[in-house]
Symmetry: C2
């Protein structure tokens, strides 16, 4: 099942206490496309400037990404510069944002893209996300949505509308609280679910994710790593594993969402082990499956059997 992603393609300049990297390939649609290309056909809609390098288009193409929706416009490619603080890289600050051609981004879908069965609306202006939904020939089987505080504060009405049309919604913990105007995370999640999504993925950074679907909650930790290079793109790469699992299996049950979240965490954990999409490019399916198995080891414990006693040795 082909997955259409609409989002950003960018050049990022990243500083961490240990290293830095200038003008590395980034953007939500880039991380998502490279990540999901292991699991499902992906078609990308994004805007690039005149300075966007042919070798980066070739890189995407070499992963099987349909780049026909990469619109090249006059001007420079979207640039973001950020610095990660503290030794665990859990906090960051934006040093510079140059929207460049991204400021006038107007997604235009081909006839084929309008029929995509799966759609990921990465973090862009919710009015553009609505416009993409309007362009679809029919409602996709799965609409997944990412957003951020900037739009919660600035374009709440449009965001409400696009959330009401989403099946799967990704939000940071703080964003979910802000969006629901509710401090308790479980109550906030219920309020947001009542707006439409059948699954809500609350991202907790280095602490993993909570997945609300139906009446159930699933918790997946972040995979503990002894070396984190650059957390940029971890959220979109998580989404690539999550949606990749669903697109590959067609499993939209709560059980499927659980495995999807684990595959998302697996992919996110690889992403942060190097700058840009570098680590994702080196992965074999065996690497991915090995870490999926390691995840089972990370969270498994002997359940309490029916009629069993908690205080007898298992």
């Amino acid at each position: 099942m082909t997955v259409l992603v609409v989002g950003s393609v960018a050049y990022d300049t990243i500083k961490t206490p240990a290293a830095s990297r200038e003008d590395s390939l980034g953007g939500s649609a880039t991380y998502f496309s490279v990540g999901i290309s292991r699991f499902a056909p992906v078609s990308l809609v994004a805007v690039i400037g005149e300075d966007f390098q042919e070798r980066h288009i070739e890189l995407l193409r070499s992963r099987g990404v349909d780049v026909s929706g990469l619109q090249r416009e006059q001007g420079k490619t979207f640039r973001w510069a950020g610095e990660y603080f503290s030794a665990d890289l859990n906090s960051r600050t934006t040093l510079d944002t140059q929207l460049n051609v991204f400021a006038e981004f107007s997604p235009s879908l081909s006839a084929e893209q309008r029929r995509s069965p799966y759609l990921f609306l990465a973090n862009i202006d919710p009015e553009l996300q609505l416009d993409v939904l309007d362009q679809m020939e029919r409602r996709p089987d799965l609409v997944a949505l990412d957003s951020m505080n900037f739009w919660i504060d600035g374009k709440r009405d449009a965001l409400n509308k696009v959330v009401a049309n989403a099946d799967v919604l990704f939000m940071d913990e703080g964003e979910a609280r802000d969006f629901a105007c509710e401090g308790n995370l479980v109550t906030a999640a219920r309020k947001i679910m009542a707006m439409g999504p059948s699954a809500l993925v609350i991202k907790q950074g280095a602490h993993g994710v909570l997945v609300f679907s139906g009446d159930t909650v699933f918790s997946a930790p972040a995979f503990p790593l002894d070396h984190v290079v650059d957390p940029t793109g971890a959220g979109d790469t998580f989404a690539s594993g999550f949606i990749g699992y669903i697109a590959a299996t067609g499993d939209k049950t709560p059980e499927g969402y659980r495995r999807a979240a684990v595959l998302g965490s697996v992919m996110g954990s690889f992403c942060v082990q190097d700058f840009s999409v570098d680590k994702l490019l080196t992965l074999s399916m065996q690497d991915i499956e090995d870490r999926f198995r390691a995840f089972s080891q990370l969270t498994a414990f002997a359940p309490l059997q029916d009629g069993g006693s908690l205080l007898t040795r298992n």
Copy 2:
């Protein structure tokens, strides 16, 4: 197996955005004793002042806690006042600390207590923790230890010594980083494990715990709650479930530590649902077992079988 706990008994005054409580029964040894009394015999060593109420001694006694080591001294009982901020109660500030009789606390163990097979050294001056270890007739089968930043900064040498003598060490995420002088949590954990403990429990507050033991890591989330009243005592109540499981079953394998951590999380999740130990006092064993089962539901997902493929529907 009897568990000896040495720690604080206090009166806490707590403010949260929703409610407040004055002079409620608190202290690390109180939360631990009431929590573990469901699972194992417990003997408490702590100091109280002249103002400590008989009904609170009776409360502990009614849970089967051996209160013979409760030393009453001239002066007032240790008092702490704190306020929790933000709607999720994840950050707090200390409004007032009156050490009172706790300032001169000098733990004195009875002949019977010196033979306790299990020992929990709650968060007190590491020099006192060493003194307690010296008083033991023989090394206990299990020594568990809690500490805090105050001692990491102020009494590192004594803390190093007591950590070297501990089997199980509880630390907050930030404390572990500070103690190991290492920003990466996995690397910090390995450094601390190399100092002696066979298990290290990294507490992440509302995000759960990571348990390092041997070469394995186990992640247990915090149980998602739609109403949190007062987080005070959650860490010591977690420890009560963790050590209670080991004391009841004798299981000190990595598998046992996993179940211990889940029972700890279960007990901690009950603790925060009311002020003081109020919720812990109302619990039936059925309540505890039900939430243990709910924990399995919270974290379970279909593993990848040997020879199985990740991308076929499970």
